[in-house]
Amino acid sequence: MKVVILSPERPVFEGEATAVVAPAYDGEVGILPRHAPFMTLLGEGRLLVRRQEGTQEFKVKGGFLQVRQDTVRVVAEYATEVTNADS
């Protein structure tokens, strides 16, 4: 499935993924391919994008997540990639 992560300033990530784990307002949600249309508010925390090459981690805060037509769209008030050096 396709994953897009948008912050107000720029698109932070765009690509194919096998799973997404996101911090929703009331706890983590996991999204796998062929998920039903879904929309939820985001809380604050780390968002994981699992890909064949490995897992990428992002810090997100606020905004919402939307799943539609096998595309996950994360529209966050704040989003930035956590580089491996910090983790």
Partner: protein, 293 residues
């Protein structure tokens, strides 16, 4: 005819000026490039927000959310936010924005609407302070790299006062960035939020297909302020890019006319120099003739 030495001094001075304007043009060009990238990078987020509000919007929500409060024709008080640059040397850029803001204020006053003016950017603030117009708030610290946080700070008090009914609309005067050469000053109404669904997607039933958590209302409630802040953020980012575009054009014109002026001065200088030489030769010849005689 001016003295050659005087002319040489002026040529040198204009050459220096040309060097400076040329440099400023190049600086503006590189800043413009980055500012343009920022404008483009900010678009997907804005598009996603309008889309989501369009999908979730329904007329009955309008009554429940203060930010969607439609005021109709009885607009009593409007907050007008004027965005200008902090720096000058960018041609008519700030002048055009200030002129549009004044026009809009007059227009609103004619309709019997009270207007309070909020200034962002030193140039606009300076002008209104100079003519003695009161500013309801002012900020000069945003500069040419606005962040979403800046926009949120500007909008927070306005949203609160709009929700409480103290003001009935928020409009912003900014430079819309169509391209580096087309940056028309524009008035945009940020509040009340105009329902996008009416214009855009007519599929009101699309909403039922989603699993919504916690609920459509809660999502709209959380997303609306983001949408409003983002409208302000976009206005700031576009104005910043437009400023660099305007400065580049202004500095290019200045460099070009300095070049023309140098050419003209040099011609005059050469003529003066030639005249001097001719005169000296004439004097020598004249002197030699006199000695011979």
């Amino acid at each position: 005819m001016p003295k050659p030495r005087e002319l040489r001094r002026r040529i040198r001075s204009v050459e220096n000026t040309r060097q400076i304007t040329k440099t400023m043009e190049m600086v503006a060009t590189s800043k413009l490039k980055r500012a343009t990238d920022r404008v483009i990078a900010a678009r997907p987020y804005a598009a996603a927000l309008s889309e989501i509000i369009g999908e979730l919007y329904s007329p009955d929500l309008a009554e429940r959310f203060p930010l969607l409060r439609q005021v109709g024709d009885r607009v009593g008080r409007v907050a007008l936010v004027l965005i200008t640059s902090n720096r000058g040397l960018c041609g008519a850029f700030n002048g055009n924005l200030i002129r549009l803001a004044k026009q809009r204020m007059e227009e609103l006053n004619r309709q019997g609407t009270e207007v309070e003016l909020h200034g962002i950017g030193r140039k606009g603030i300076g002008y209104f302070r100079y003519i003695g117009h009161r500013l309801a708030s002012q900020r000069q610290d945003i500069g040419d790299k606005p962040t979403p946080r800046h926009a949120a700070e500007v909008m927070a008090p306005l949203m609160e006062r709009f929700a409480s009914g103290e003001i009935d609309a928020v409009e912003v005067v900014f430079a819309k960035f169509n391209s580096p050469l087309s940056t028309p000053p524009t008035v945009m109404r940020i509040l009340p939020v105009t329902p996008v669904s009416a214009a855009g997607s007519g599929k009101g039933g699309g909403r039922g297909n989603y699993i919504l958590r916690p609920s459509a209302e809660a999502i709209v409630e959380a997303v609306l302020p983001l949408y409003v802040q983002n409208a302000m953020f976009r206005a700031l980012v576009e104005t910043a890019a437009a400023e660099h575009g305007a400065r580049r054009t202004a500095m290019k014109n200045a460099t070009d006319s300095a070049g023309e002026m140098i050419e003209m001065l040099r011609r005059t200088y050469n003529r003066a120099r030639q005249a001097q030489i001719t005169q000296e030769i004439a004097e020598i010849v004249g002197g030699a003739e006199a000695l011979k005689g």
